[in-house]
Amino acid sequence: MKFSGMILSLILLSNISYAGIITTDQSDKTIENVKIAHSAIVTTDKGDAKLDLVGSGIFVKKVLITNIKVFVAQMFVDNAGKFVRTPEGALNSMDDMNMAAFNLTYLFSVDGNKIMSVISDALDANNVDTDNEAIQEFLDALKASGKVSSGKTMTIVLKRNDDGTTKITFESPSGQIQEINGDKSVFKSIASIWLGNTADDGSEKLKASILEGK
């Protein structure tokens, strides 16, 4: 590559942030060869925040007669002691959290459109208003992820701001970070994807696995 080309590439890259939004420790536990962490550190404007693992699991999607292992999910919160491990209580207990993180490691190549479609189904199952500006922006960010290859990870961090509003930080599998600001309801709306009403059998099993603290 010519020097001028390298400079141009560096200028272009400088407009995009590439840095992990969470740092996880390593445990011996694995699901489908994905290492499951004990905790995650999230860097915020007020310093580092430690989130604890409340559960993990695998999302399996049935397509015709084939069960496809799509991703391994790990969920972390800042107030694990207040997390309610019942199907009815889990989502409401998110009112007691100021931060939550969802780490999804893909086991199967999936297109961004498909990810957006599955997440939309989960939001619909929880009567979330997908016309909400922040939710719409989040869905667009998922769509813009493009094709997610097997082995890649996407991370979603939810933070409750001092004024009660929500900040979503989304890290795409390519490492691109996007911050989305939304109203108070957005925190629970996004959490409902994994803890709320389930849209299919695969989501039901993943939720059960998280609630069991696996």
Binding site: V63, L64, I65, I68, D121
Partner: protein
Amino acid sequence: MKRLIGLMSICALIQGCDAMKALDVTANKLPATMEQMNQKMDSTVKGISETNSAVREQKMGAYLDLMFRDENTQDLEPVALGMIPGAIKLGEVITAKEAVELTSLFVNEIHDQRPSAEDANDPAVIKKYDHQKMAKFSAIVTIAGFLPDEKVDQIINDQIINSGLYIDEAYTFLMARVFFLGTFVNEKILANPINSIEKMNDAITKIESIDKILKLYLKDPVFKKLIKMDIDGFLKRDAISVSLYSDDGNFADPNWSTPKLWKKVLKAFDRDLKAVNLLAAPQDQKDEALKKINLMKARVQANLDSWK
């Protein structure tokens, strides 16, 4: 016939002239000639019909062959994409009765075919047999999924409503259609932007095909239990058992929950089917397109309302 009437009229005008005799003879001969012509015509029509039938059967064979080619049956899961082009072409030429007959044949072959006793424990042979059985199962669902609607209507009418010879296979066929289309609509159509009028029309038509089968219970509630598919006979794989409705009367799978599918399609009108891709068209074409979009949207809303 018109020519004969014309001749008779001329005869009436020139009655008495010498030419009448010749015309009388001709007129007397005409019915016999016409009879011969009709016979020849019948024979020609029969010949054409036989040729058409032979051509149609030849096409059927070619399309089935296309479906089962090694390269098209290599990857059967999750969806046998390679078999789809052949299934679509086959759907154009196969009759409704032949479609259920083929379903019956494949179901029986999956059930009955076994390796010989000396090969029964050979893993490679077992794998090959199960692969062939899976190819036949994939053929059942893809043919059912892509058969034109009017032929499906005929299956419903001839085999189910009028209690035909292939009534059981017809239930299997209808279940296979919903099973395949539900997945196809969710995984291939709704998972991508529906950003053209033709794509939208295709989505609506396919969901209406599912809807029609789901609503058969309105004719008789017993259809809620009868429309199902039980395919067994795999050597190592589990039997495939799918029903349209679960025991509690709800849709057995969210893939064919058409009220949800209609809601998704309604959203796609606003999200994907914007007029931006028509900007270059002249105003009258844009107006026409908008009219079509509005009609389609009303059709989707009516379908959704029909479940309330």
